[in-house]
């Protein structure tokens, strides 16, 4: 068993040592670590052959549909299921009373049920579920169901949440001990207030309110789950749930918990997933109800969410109102950062307790500060629950902080890149909040984007030069960030590995990797294949990956917190190494040489001192199978506690941190207020790139997603919309304005910037082969880079997202009238 602190017997850093000639590593024909390999599932997906959850059908399968609340906050007086049950073809109807056990992804905040019990907390909350012979019948049954409500006080924003929650009429969720507060985190490191005062006298201090609007994941594949009861030795059968999830293990646990079954009687299968981004990282209503309905009816039951239901399931980025104070001395040394943050959480906790921590804990590098304090409070409101979206919790404060760095640089007369360089935390250092930063390629990232964007020649000069373009102004902006590669602390406390991998070799020459990890498109199956190729010297076509099936694969905690490559990678490496040693030993015996002189690579096994002597991998595996019997090995990854020695100090503590820098070039249309993000240069330090193509894909995907959050995406509710007639305001307040891909605008190819991605490799001893994360970090600094570029273009600071044309134009007008735009109204 390996862990974050120990090393394996053989050196694995920076690269393994098994390939014949390391110089061949990145050349054609090699498929190990660092090779630009294809994705293991790429061709299948391109050819349309991949089977997603909804592609599965079983004889006798029933269709499940949900009755959803039309009220934001109301007591359920009565649910009349009889009219639905009376419809021919309806097999079962359940309400919250059939599934009353509470669950929740965080063990300390189990505050939701699969179907509403006694009261509803947001418009769209599931109240009842039906199973019928087909979709039409199920829809008819849902329409026939009658729910009688008694309205309670809707709590639709943080300001209202702060004032309410003491009386039952205005308490959104009974789990809140005090008012409507889910969680408050208050931490302070060093003499923050003294440092701020000192900088006020000699230095620069900026103090502003920022607002980051809510956004959602919008995966192309909607949530889908199928429940089946079959197999097993007893008449009761085993429960299998096939689901588009990114956490099959947590789903496994919660299904057993809510349905009252032994875990050994439950199986979860996660087929290939068509996008998740954090939106499928906890159990959802549909998974429990298909299981329950399958158990009740004895038939397979499927539920596929409509696009609107995907919006209602949500768990997207929290709207955050953030008051930031940032102080530097005259030399530009960052002395203090202080934030007060309100999170608008929605009706349930989801990951919210962690979100409140992440809103503070991940900001302390790679640009470091001498003292730091944050005070983050998450509130319950009568809206779909917020949760983790790519860059969980830390994207919003990163936006505020990196804008502040830009402002400080201006006040101090420094280049903003230089300010960041000057405050670089360094490597192998302990950050102000006690977190241990290993490798960090911040300086290399900054160099790369500075050079590629021709920052020094062009920044501050594009706006003026754009006069021939008439009403459009261009600008450049920079930002940097850091992100975790998994957290040392598992979601539920336990001493077991966070990730396990089992590997089987046999005489066919094939390697089969069994892993509980979830490939949600990011490419974890491909990483498993690459590690098999690297360690066992086989070709990709000889590797099979079996992943995310709780009956077949060892446990992995899931695809979240950018943990998979690091943790699963360690486990895979360890299992493969064990088998490699057996192969080396068996072949050495046949060749009468030392095991260390047996090398594995390019689909063959070679003699170190005589490359004319080689046999195929399959021949070598036969020798090993003859020598050792059936070939199999396991590997696992577990972490030691890390982080600061205080309550919450482990949250956000990671074995390794990535670093990122962005330079964005924007064009602002000063007549309409529209922003065009023209180009983005991004450099991301992922440690060792196990597959650079996958890393580039993650950088590009993160960057375009981040850019869109600046100017397009917004989870807008009726209560926030402009000009609502009073008569309909009450009904509308808790309703999403446009729960569709027409009204919630994700960018088209025409709205996506040209992205120039550089992979920076600054290996970290805690990662397999030195690898760190790439899936979420490259989103963070996109947003402040774009906002800072807007300032460079037009000279107006914006503190609220999204930068809608109306908001941008209002700012330009205030500039013309001699006033800066106001900060978020509620924060004044």
């Amino acid at each position: 068993m390996s862990d974050g602190e120990s090393t394996l017997k053989a050196p694995y850093f920076p690269h393994g040592s098994t390939i014949v000639d390391a110089a061949l590593r990145r050349q054609e024909g090699d498929h190990g670590v660092g090779a630009r390999g294809r994705k293991i599932d790429g061709a299948e997906k391109a050819l349309g052959r991949t089977r997603f959850a909804d592609d599965y059908a079983f004889p006798g399968m029933l269709c499940c549909k949900l009755k959803r609340s039309t009220r934001p906050h109301a007591r359920i007086v009565r649910v009349d299921v009889e009219p639905a049950l009376a419809i021919p073809g309806v097999h079962a109807v359940i309400t919250g009373r059939e599934l009353p056990t509470k669950f929740g992804i965080i063990p300390w905040t189990q505050d939701e049920t699969a179907l509403a019990v006694d009261k509803v907390r947001y418009v769209g909350e599931p109240v009842a579920a039906v199973a019928a012979i087909d979709e039409e019948t199920a829809n008819a049954a849902v329409r026939a169901l009658r729910v009688e409500y008694q309205d309670l006080t809707p709590v639709l924003d943080v300001d209202t949440a702060k004032r309410t929650g003491d009386a039952p009429e205005s308490k959104v969720n009974e789990h809140a001990k005090q008012g409507n507060v889910t969680k408050r985190v208050e931490l302070s490191f060093g003499p923050v207030d003294d440092n701020i005062e000192a900088c006020r006298k000699d230095g620069a201090v900026v103090e502003d309110s920022f607002f980051y609007c809510g956004t959602t994941h919008a995966p192309i594949e909607p949530h889908c789950a199928i429940g089946l009861v079959e197999g097993g030795p007893g008449a009761q059968g085993l429960l299998t749930v096939i689901s588009s999830t990114q956490v099959p293990h947590y789903l496994h646990r919660d299904l057993a918990h809510v349905l009252g079954l032994p875990e050994a009687q439950v199986r979860v299968i996660q087929p290939p997933v068509g996008g998740a981004f954090g939106g499928k990282s906890e159990p959802f209503t549909l998974e429990f109800v298909v299981a329950k309905l399958a158990m009740m009816t004895g038939r397979p039951v499927k539920c596929l969410y409509t696009r609107e239901e995907v919006f209602l399931a949500h768990r997207g980025r929290h709207p955050m109102r953030m008051r930031f104070t940032t102080a530097a001395d005259r030399q530009g040394q960052l002395k203090a950062v202080k934030s007060v943050i309100d999170l608008d959480g929605g009706a349930y906790a989801s990951f919210g307790m962690i979100t409140a921590y992440y809103a503070g804990q991940i900001l302390t590098g790679p640009v470091a500060m001498e003292s730091y304090a944050f005070d983050a409070t998450r509130y319950y409101t009568n809206k779909p629950a917020c949760g983790p979206k790519r860059g969980h919790g830390s994207v919003q404060p990163r936006f505020a902080f990196e804008c502040h760095l830009d402002m400080l640089a201006e006040q101090l007369g420094m280049d903003p890149i230089e300010l960041r360089r000057r405050n670089f935390a360094g490597e192998n250092v302990t950050l102000v909040n006690g977190q241990r930063l290993g490798s960090s390629g911040l300086l290399q990232c900054l160099d790369a984007v500075e050079r590629a964007s021709r920052w020094r020649e062009r920044r501050g000069k594009l706006g003026a030069n754009a006069s021939e373009r008439g009403t459009k102004r261009r600008g450049l902006g920079v930002a940097s960030s850091m992100y975790i590669s998994g957290t040392n602390y598992p979601i539920y406390p336990n001493e077991m590995p966070q990730s396990g991998v089992q590997v089987k070799l046999d005489r066919s020459g094939r390697v089969t990797m069994f892993s509980g990890a979830s490939d949600i498109g990011q490419g974890s199956d491909t990483v498993l294949m690459t590690i098999a190729c690297e360690e066992l010297g086989v070709r990709p076509e000889h590797v099979r990956v079996v992943s995310s099936d709780t009956d077949l694969t060892p446990v992995d905690l899931g695809a979240y917190s950018s943990r998979v490559t690091l943790m699963m990678g360690h486990a895979a490496l360890e299992a493969c190494r064990r088998l490699r040693e057996q192969v080396q030993e068996a072949v050495a015996r046949a060749w009468q040489c030392e095991p260390d002189d047996v090398l594995l690579g390019h689909g063959k096994v070679w003699a170190r001192h005589d490359t004319q002597q080689s046999i195929s991998s399959a021949e070598a595996f036969k020798l090993a199978e003859a020598r050792f019997g059936t070939l199999g090995a396991t590997g696992g990854y577990r972490t030691h506690p890390r982080g600061g020695d205080y309550r919450g100090g482990t949250i956000g503590a990671s074995p390794a941190y990535s670093s990122t820098a962005h330079v964005a070039e924007v064009e602002v249309d000063t007549e309409t207020g529209k922003i065009d993000v023209v180009k983005v240069w991004v450099a991301h330090d992922c440690g060792t790139a196990i597959n650079p193509v996958l890393v580039e894909g993650q950088i590009e995907g993160s960057t375009y997603m981040g850019a869109a959050e600046v100017f397009l995406e917004n989870m807008l509710y009726g209560a926030d919309a402009v000009g609502v007639p009073a008569a309909s305001a009450a009904r509308r307040g808790g309703m999403l304005v446009g729960p569709s891909l027409l009204d919630y605008r994700i960018p088209t190819t025409l709205d996506t910037p040209a992205i120039f991605a550089s992979v920076i490799e600054r290996p970290d001893g805690n990662g397999p082969y030195g690898a760190k994360e790439a899936g979420e970090g490259p989103l963070h600094s996109t947003i402040p880079a774009v906002v800072n570029a807007v300032y460079d273009a037009v000279g107006v600071r914006y503190f609220e997202l999204p930068l809608s044309p109306a908001r941008v134009l209002a700012g330009l007008r205030q500039q013309r009238d001699g006033a800066q735009p106001t900060t978020h109204k509620a924060a004044e």
Partner: protein, 328 residues
């Protein structure tokens, strides 16, 4: 996925068959051409037809013909075809550019000019799922009695959102409506009604078969400007079309034409060019046109964006439409 409620489908092959079916079923029938408007609306439960008359197989309704003074455009001509059609490039380039801004490429390959002209009016409170509208308590246009845009409003203000209608109205086009008992030609100006519940004069039993676009004089300049957040897919937040007759050397003198603004309410709004007729088309004249249009346009919350900003955009779009006309 959202389901379609059951309905019967007929696939006539001639216009006579099609209008006979429409006449026989009256309000219970709906016409399906490219389906890009009707099918999503059916899935949202906005119409409950018993019969859908799919006219895709009707002969003779597709293509652009040079008919002397006018171009005749068959109702089934797709927006993608109009985008690149040589006759439009020569005689109605503004229409080609407006067609090119409808939705995205896949939808323009399916969507037709007839369908775009008959596009149902759109509103934030109407183009939503059955569940959403139920939670809202429905609205004036469908199943309810309350307008959520205008307090105590008694008349639906859902917005005309068709890009080609704005341009064709500016060009003085007319449509040909066929019924079992005859054919009538209606100028687009008279085709649209100021009622969001139903904003065209198409009667039960009638089928729009053809659009006739005057080829205009060599002096005619055509421009179109569309306000939207994304550069594809989105319906207009505001659209301005202009047909300008400009004579003489640049900047030239305005001798006629029309300005049309849409995505406001049910009927595209005509703005006369009388104020600048006989004047040089210089910056001052363009500003004046913008002021005139601004004075008459009152965007509402039927579209989910800041109406004050959309109103501010009226003169900007007028300027851009004129620039498009003069420089495209």
């Amino acid at each position: 996925m959202l389901r379609l409620d059951p309905f019967k489908v007929e696939r006539p092959t001639t216009v006579d068959e099609a209008v006979a079916l429409l006449a026989a079923h009256g309000a219970k029938a709906r016409v399906l051409a490219g389906g890009t408007d009707l099918l999503p609306n059916l899935k949202h439960g906005l119409h409950q037809p018993e019969l859908v008359v799919s006219i895709g197989g009707v002969a003779g309704l597709r293509g652009v013909k040079d008919a002397g003074e006018v171009l005749e455009i068959g109702a089934l001509t797709t927006l993608a075809e109009l985008e690149r059609h040589p006759l439009l490039a020569q005689f109605a380039p503004g229409l080609a550019r407006a067609a090119a801004q409808v939705a995205g490429p896949q939808l323009r390959r399916m969507g037709t000019i007839g369908g775009n002209l008959c596009l149902d009016t759109r509103c934030l409170y109407y183009n939503q799922s059955a569940f959403w509208r139920e939670a809202l308590g429905y609205c004036l246009k469908k199943d309810g009695s309350v307008c959520h845009v205008v307090a105590d409003g008694k008349k639906c203000v859902a917005a005309a959102s068709n890009d080609t209608a704005t341009m064709l109205m500016a060009l003085g086009a007319e449509v040909e409506l066929r019924a079992r008992d005859g054919t009538r030609r209606v100028p687009l100006d008279a085709f649209y009604l100021p009622d969001g519940a139903k904003n065209t004069v198409v009667d039960e039993g009638e089928l729009l078969v053809c659009v006739r676009v005057p080829k205009g004089s060599p002096a005619r300049r055509e421009g179109y400007a569309k306000l939207r957040h994304r550069n594809s897919i989105d319906f207009p937040l505001l659209s301005v079309a202009v047909a300008l007759d400009v004579e003489g050397v640049a900047p030239g003198t305005v001798t006629g034409g029309l300005l049309v603004v849409s995505a406001l309410q049910a009927r595209p709004l005509r703005v006369s060019l009388d104020a600048v007729r006989g004047r040089a088309l210089d910056d001052g004249a363009i500003e004046e046109l913008g002021r005139l249009a601004h004075g008459r346009c009152h965007p509402m919350t039927n579209i989910a964006d800041d109406p004050a900003w959309r109103r501010d955009m009226v003169p900007v779009l007028v300027r851009r439409a004129v620039a498009d006309a003069l420089h495209a």
